[in-house]
Amino acid sequence: MTTRISRAELAARVASDIPEGAVVNLGIGAPTLVADFLPEGLEIVLHTENGMLGMGPAPERGRVDPDLINAGKQPVTALAGAAYFHHADSFAMMRGGHLDVCVLGAFQVSAGGDLANWSTGEPGAIPAVGGAMDLAIGAKDVYVMTDLLTKGGDPKLVTSCTYPLTGVGCASRVYTDHGVFDVTASGFRVRELFGDNTHEEIEALLGLALIEKDA
């Protein structure tokens, strides 16, 4: 058995790589968890694409403000230093490369950095993309946060994606429950493996050659 860290541990691992002063967008779902693990006392500026920088944590009951929500439509608060703006300005920030980090979930990530996270291509499903394609190209670094394998055991790090793409060559790093991988010009390079996981074990799980950590 390989070592797997929990979703919360993974969120903490991602959070630990975000430096003070970074402007960060945390995608809907698991990436939202990262906010809970950002180091206290460090100023990190959270962007929500529905029109705000300087997003703070969820309010207490009784202080919920239906006009103040995040991209997941959950109630949030505003920190001192916050600013509001309209949707075109908000996505201009992302598209223009002004965010430092986006953290996104994935169905698949390819060795070339292609990301698939918006559609499983299931016939009959109602498609919905939201800001996924904008987020995928919307930061200096795009961190993907995902399990290494699907529940059915299929690799999510792949040679090329079979699901519909969200963005081409956009992912810069993949944080998984088994380890962390950088996307390089020559494919995935191991950055860190959790517990006793070995390079060979992960390659076997993925059916994919990985570049050695120190290569």
Partner: protein, 248 residues
């Protein structure tokens, strides 16, 4: 005297024709002009193309407009939500068409319409299904898709306050699509909490200048705001907490 205020919601939506393209502001429930949508339902215009980020939540607002069978086509980025059952049903039954647009391209296409831009090259969506069949170009080493403006006959939006010239200020993330939709529509209709005297809005802080606005109607403050200040006491759908408790 310039006076864009209208006395009531029926006057606000008067004249919207069948077949119109209608932009509706809001991201989820925040900024959704629910009272104007209700007035549009009462008005009865049909065969509408609606531009919104989503495709309705629950059974109110845009969802109610869909349920009333007035919408032929939705242009949006994120129709499928936990509470989008009205759209889901109509879509599966083939009763409503869908044009799916990545959210930032949706915003920029709306912005382009208001800004007189004929088309623009965007990196978003390049190499994906949503760019299939679209013109692409490599510029300075980056790949782009050519996208065109989305214009509308009518925009229905919500703001916090207006003056009689139609200058608008918004509240927090309820601003979202309001300013760009106001500029992209031939006729822009705004519901506000309150109409303030001309000169009361700080000219440095006006977000939508009045030239983008045609009609303004006051609908009163929301339960969570009093005299422009947040007072809380509601859930995320804006229902007073006591009431929420009573419903359990």
């Amino acid at each position: 005297m310039i006076d864009k205020t209208v006395p009531d919601l029926a006057a606000a939506v008067a004249g919207i024709p069948d077949g119109a393209t209608v932009m509706i502001g809001g991201f989820g429930r925040a900024g959704q002009p629910v009272e104007l949508i209700d007035a549009l339902i009462a008005h009865g215009a049909r065969d509408l193309t609606v531009v919104n980020n989503n495709a309705g939540n629950g059974d109110t607002g845009l969802a109610a407009l869909l349920a009333a069978g007035q919408v032929r086509k939705m242009i949006c980025s994120f129709p499928r939500q936990s509470d989008s059952w009205v759209f889901d049903r109509l879509y599966r039954e083939g009763e409503v068409e869908l044009e799916l647009v990545p959210q930032g391209n949706l915003a920029e296409r709306i912005r382009a319409a208001g800004a007189g831009i004929g088309g623009f090259f965007t990196p978003t969506g390049f190499g994906t299904q949503l760019a299939e069949g679209k013109e692409t170009r490599r510029i300075d080493g980056r790949d782009y898709v050519l996208e065109y403006p989305i214009r509308a006959d009518v925009a229905l939006i919500s703001a916090r306050a207006a003056d009689r010239w139609g200058n608008l200020v918004y509240r927090e993330t309820a601003r979202n699509f309001g300013p760009i939709m106001a500029a992209a529509a031939t006729t822009t209709i705004v519901q506000v909490d309150e109409i303030v005297p001309l000169g009361r809005l700080d000219p440095e802080a006006v977000v939508t200048p009045g030239l983008y606005v045609n009609r303004v109607v006051a609908v009163g403050e929301r339960p969570w705001v009093r005299d422009g200040a947040f007072v809380g006491g509601v859930d995320i759908e804006g229902r007073p907490l006591a009431e929420e408790g009573a419903q359990r």
